[in-house]
Symmetry: D2
Subunit: 99 residues, 4 copies
């Protein structure tokens, strides 16, 4: 399992507000019940099998185009750890326990 953060930003949208695109991108995740996810003020964090997550992000990346954007900048950061099961909760707990 991998933990992946993504942010999807349409460029050239006339107004600096892009939350309507972000909300629509999120609806894509309803089709991926096997992916656990969390919205943050800077993006979306997803937990699950990496190929499935990349499939979801690829679909999310299409959403602004389907809604009128002609350029989209998408950032994806993958944290893939295979020596032990890595989850969003476990990562948080590991830091918090040391604070």
């Amino acid at each position: 399992m991998a933990i992946v953060e993504t942010s999807i930003t349409p460029i050239g949208t006339e107004t600096p507000s892009v939350s309507k695109y972000v909300a629509k991108c999120h609806k894509v995740l309803e089709d991926f019940p096997e992916i656990k996810y969390q919205l943050t003020p800077m993006g979306t964090i997803l937990e699950g099998e990496l190929p499935k997550i990349l499939e979801a992000i690829t679909k999310m990346h299409e959403v602004p185009f389907d809604n009128g954007a002609s350029r989209v900048s998408t950032l994806i950061k993958i944290d893939d750890r295979r020596d032990k099961e890595a989850t969003m909760d476990a990562k948080m707990q590991s830091v918090i326990s040391k604070l």
Copy 2:
């Protein structure tokens, strides 16, 4: 005010666990009471004046070196919006209200 996400990763640490470095980086933020921040499973999100935030991140970036690392990879993503007051809470609410 800007909203800034950062993740600070030591490279070449012998083990893949880096939470002890992350926890120590966080302690730096105790010296910056004017910065609001939130830990996520993929990094730290900070809200405040941009120069102050960059000062804090610069100090956080030194922490792994002070603890034995010889290479550090730091990612910083700035979202700076000046047509209205942007906060972490307002960004979240703006998306959630459209879901």
Copy 3:
């Protein structure tokens, strides 16, 4: 066509030198003759069809695991523009012509 930058970093290697992993990641690209690419001091920039590029990056991301790493951090930045043909050369020329 999209332009995509990626950097693939193993975490918890014994030394801070990761160029041997980077070189092996690059060899994956020999199997993707339809992707144009360019090595930079900070990563690799790829130009081509987005699904093909993500397929290549997914394979590159496996390389450090195949060579002993147990954690890999991969950053992917997609610039996808569909109102005109965007190429690495055209993007560079567009900036340089304005300098």
Copy 4:
């Protein structure tokens, strides 16, 4: 010395073309002769002392605001290695020699 990549993107511009902003951001670097830099199709890579580089990027980040943008998204990736002198050329050569 550190090697730092940055990309500075105005959000909510009227058109998806942002090269005019990128070109103006670059002019800031004329005031920093101690920083070596390289334009790539996805951003700018800078080499020099980290505090000086962050000072330059902070000024570059202001350029789109000075030219009418009301929201700017800036990505900064720092590669800071202190066990040996790291330069853009040395990093490239280290990978190329292994290909």
